[in-house]
Amino acid sequence: MNFTAVSVAMAPEHLLLAGIVALLVLEIASARSRAALPIAVIFVGAAAVAAALLGASGWTGSPFPGQFVLTPPAAFAKALVLALAVPVLLFSREDFGEGDFYPLLLASLYGVCLLASAQSFLTLFLGIELMSIPVYVLVLLGYRRPESAEAALKYLVLSGTASASFLMGASLLYGSTGSLGLASFGGALASTDLLARTAVVMVVSAFFLKAAIVPFHGWAPDAYEAASVPSTAYMAVLVKAGVLIAAARVFGTAPVAEPLAGLIAILPIASIVWGNLTAMRQPGLRRMIAYSSIAHAGYLFLAFLGDGPGRFQAVVFYLATYGVMNLLAFAALPAHDDDVERDRLENLKGLFHTHPFAALAIGMAMLSLAGIPPFPGFVGKFLIFRNVIAAGYTGWAVIGLVGSYLGIYFYLRLIQFMFMSPAAAKAGHAPSRGVAMGASLLCLAGSVAVAVAPGLLLSRL
């Protein structure tokens, strides 16, 4: 083990760890401190910069051979995920001015970073658990109504099931190949051995469960709705990013062959269709985003049909466009005394008249999530379907695109509510505040950058 390699390659992780320690010390030193937010932002920002610099320098190496590897694309993926966490931190101030939110969030981010570098099933499992466990607490942290406890428990149990399935798959794989390295999964994909196939299916279902793919999606709407807005945003964007990056690591560049290709096409397409159709009937923004994110997980898993080398790029780029726009919507959502009333779609009627900036931001986010150009979501979708068509699955791509069409209506409906309806009688949203506005502007700047120069990001992944 080389000390320099460990300190350089894991610099983003170390910075997050330092941030957690600093936050804990602060917690002990003073009960109510306003310094928690700046500290968390500084450390996460520094970690993002460190990851970006590592990626830009082209640093490649493996401080723990066979367990942890850093390549420039992985470093950029980490930088991206960490950068996406910054707006979450910023707009969390409305809900969590101080307290346990920040160390938990940083711990979970540590897990996401670990996933991007994992080289064996053990590291990957460590990353998944590190990422998930703080989130169970985050869901409960917004405890404002009884359903939160139920949702957190549901999430805990189902996520635990996923972990069990993942471990079972990993051990079966070990049994059939004698290795815990992620590379063995690629071999198992092509294998006709029953043991290896079972292992693949168990691992894939674990990812499907974690990413809320139909029919494993039942937990997501409840958990998203019950959590407070920043926790929902974290789950919808960063946890999803972590799971998908992990899946991309596991699949590597191995081609997906029949009959697995069928499984990988049908369930995500079912998610796209079901998520988009069900989202139409949701009364609140968080529940709607939950179903929308089920559909988006579908697009993301469709990317695995594409040729191996472009897979990681497509997944991470899509996560960037999807994440930044989702965060924009959450950041712009004006604060409210009542957490339930805050995101009720009825209360967002006429938002443009009272909060024009928020309405414009949420409107742009919705159009981007719907995949309408010129917003960045379109480029992400274009990339995924391009890869799927290039891999020869034209039929699946067309079905997936038609499925994405089904989603346009509910995004438009929200825009219709905000712009075309008279203002709700008793919406009661507080005026937009500086920090949340800053977070929205940050997301907006990011999305403009991605939309104007997608090539810059693409060439680095």
């Binding site: 379907f385 068509i389 290039a390 067309v398 994405s404 069409y405 438009l412 219709q416 075309m420 060439s459």
Partner: protein, 520 residues
């Protein structure tokens, strides 16, 4: 300034205008209107420079800007003028100031957002016309939907929500299948020739088996035919037109509908020539059905806006017929007809808006004898009606006459791609067109005096100025179409060649070609 710079300025002026409007403090409605009008006029004047500098004898792109954009996919930022788009660009920049000025008194709520959206749609429409890269084209093509969605949905009539969502979902459905076709086309180009590019000029070189061409043409055609709209995909148009505010209707009829026919001319037919030649009889029949059916529907409407909406379907049928004829006169006629309909329909919708502002109803039965009460209005209306009917000396005559000539030329060609009876039936559209428009004008302008909420004032200076400018263009295109047609002639010839060529892979290459979707 180089022409390419002028074109970029023309294209991006509306974006600058949007940002400037956003920066203006709330409540300064007068400043917003003045600023938008000034920008639109400046844009038109600059585009005149482009028109004057356009060299009819040079094939290919002029005033082009090419920048690499997403090099890994072969996507480039490529814009430029050619014979296909020069007149449509002029039409767009010409209508811009008229739309802006026409809405001065009609739009009084959320003025900032309104003019921002007018500028945004102006940007998107110009972008769609000048884009010479399929990715860029698709981006602009879809962007157009957003401002139109808001224009109808916020400032529209009673059933605006229904109409605008119908409009969006209808057009988006076509686009989503086109997107699949776009990706597949670019991928096949890369797969068969090794060129990674979305530039139109490169895509024309793709060699596709006939079956693939047919699938892709179907996907493109669905999207374009919805936009035109061709019967039976037209049902969104009357709703959108009736519910849209005047400015929305003018933009919709003036420019937006031409996107569909432009798409067919620039992309749909030339990209898939073998499939197109097989489809010409079907397309020409659909075009004639649009002409006759649209005219018949216009005949029985009781809502003024609906009459003009259905007449649009009929008039654009001529454009499709001209394009399907693949005859030089027919193609030229189609282009002139696009511009002519853009001017005349825009004028008619503006005039309907003017009377609606005064009388607050669009029921034809509520009106009568306007000629005595509003003489100036009636004169302008009658002239526009005659232009719509296609009276010689107006632009409508030039377009329809050339299209019919082209259709008969095609029908008498040896291969007879268009059946003679189809071309003959198209002529009946002219008669029907005269019937519904003149009957409409007779009930509207003459007879017993009926003016709802009257007495109402006649046209004021602003409205007269708008209409005079518009009619000047109508007569210019009717009396001296030569200058304009000279600029489109090379493009028409190029279109003819592109549609006439064989683009299926040679038989020997089929055996070595990579697997296609048919074999997967």
């Amino acid at each position: 300034m180089a022409d390419s710079t002028v074109l970029s300025v023309v294209l991006y002026l509306p974006v600058a205008g949007m940002l400037a409007i956003a920066a203006l403090p709330a409540g300064r409605d007068g400043a917003v209107r003045a600023l938008t009008l000034a920008l639109m006029v400046a844009q038109f004047l600059l585009s005149l420079v482009l028109y004057a500098h356009f060299d009819p004898a040079t094939p290919g792109l002029q005033a082009a800007t090419r920048l690499p954009w997403i090099p890994a996919w072969g996507v480039s930022y490529l814009i430029g003028l050619d014979g296909y788009n020069i007149l449509l660009v002029m039409l767009t920049t010409f209508l811009g100031p008229l739309v802006t000025a026409g809405a001065f008194t009609a739009v009084t709520k959320q003025v900032k957002l309104f003019y921002a959206m007018v500028l945004l749609i102006q940007f998107a429409m110009l972008g769609t016309f000048v884009a010479q890269d399929l990715f860029l084209f698709y981006l602009f093509w879809e962007t157009m939907l957003i401002p139109m969605f808001l224009l109808i949905g916020i400032w529209g009539g009673e059933r605006r929500i229904y109409a605008t969502i119908k409009f969006f979902l209808y057009t988006a459905f076509g686009s989503i299948l086109m997107l699949a076709a776009v990706i597949y086309l670019a991928w096949s180009l890369w797969h068969t020739t090794g060129t990674a590019s979305f530039a139109f000029a490169d895509l024309y070189r793709a060699r596709l088996p006939l079956e693939t061409q047919q699938w892709l043409l179907a996907a493109f055609a669905l999207s374009f035919a919805i936009k035109v709209p061709m019967v039976p995909l037209h049902t969104w148009l009357p709703d959108a037109h009736v519910e849209a505010p005047t400015a929305g209707s003018v933009i919709l009829a003036g420019v937006l509908l031409k996107m569909g026919t432009y798409g067919f001319m620039k992309l749909g037919f030339p990209l898939f020539p073998d499939a197109t030649r097989l489809a010409v009889p079907a397309i020409s029949i659909l075009a004639v059905v649009s002409i006759v059916y649209g005219a018949c529907l216009a005949l029985v409407q009781t809502d003024i806006k609906k009459i003009i909406a259905y007449s649009s379907i009929s008039h654009l049928g001529y454009v499709m017929l001209g394009l399907a004829s693949v005859d030089l006169l027919g193609i030229q006629g189609a282009i002139v007809q696009m511009v002519s309909h853009g001017l005349v329909a825009a004028g008619l919708f503006l005039m309907v808006g003017m009377i609606y502002e005064r009388c607050h109803t669009r029921e034809l039965a509520a009106y009568g004898g306007l000629a005595k009460v509003l003489p100036v209005y009636s004169v302008f209306f009658l002239v526009l009606t005659l232009a719509s009917v296609g009276l010689p000396t107006t632009s409508g005559f030039t377009g329809e006459f050339l299209v019919l000539l082209g259709a008969f030329n095609a029908a008498w060609r040896e291969s007879a791609p268009i059946p003679v009876w189809v071309a003959g039936l198209a002529v009946s559209g002219v008669v029907l067109g005269a019937l519904y428009m003149l009957w409409f004008a007779q009930r509207f302008l003459f007879g017993a005096e009926r003016v709802p909420h009257g007495p109402v004032p006649d046209l004021d200076g602003r409205e007269r100025a708008i209409l005079v400018i518009l009619l000047a263009a109508v007569f210019w295109l009717g009396l001296a179409p030569d200058a304009a047609m000279k600029r489109t002639e090379l493009a028409a010839r190029e279109y003819q060649e592109l549609v006439a060529r064989r683009a299926v892979p040679a038989a020997t290459r089929l055996t070595v070609a990579a697997p296609t979707e048919a074999t997967r």
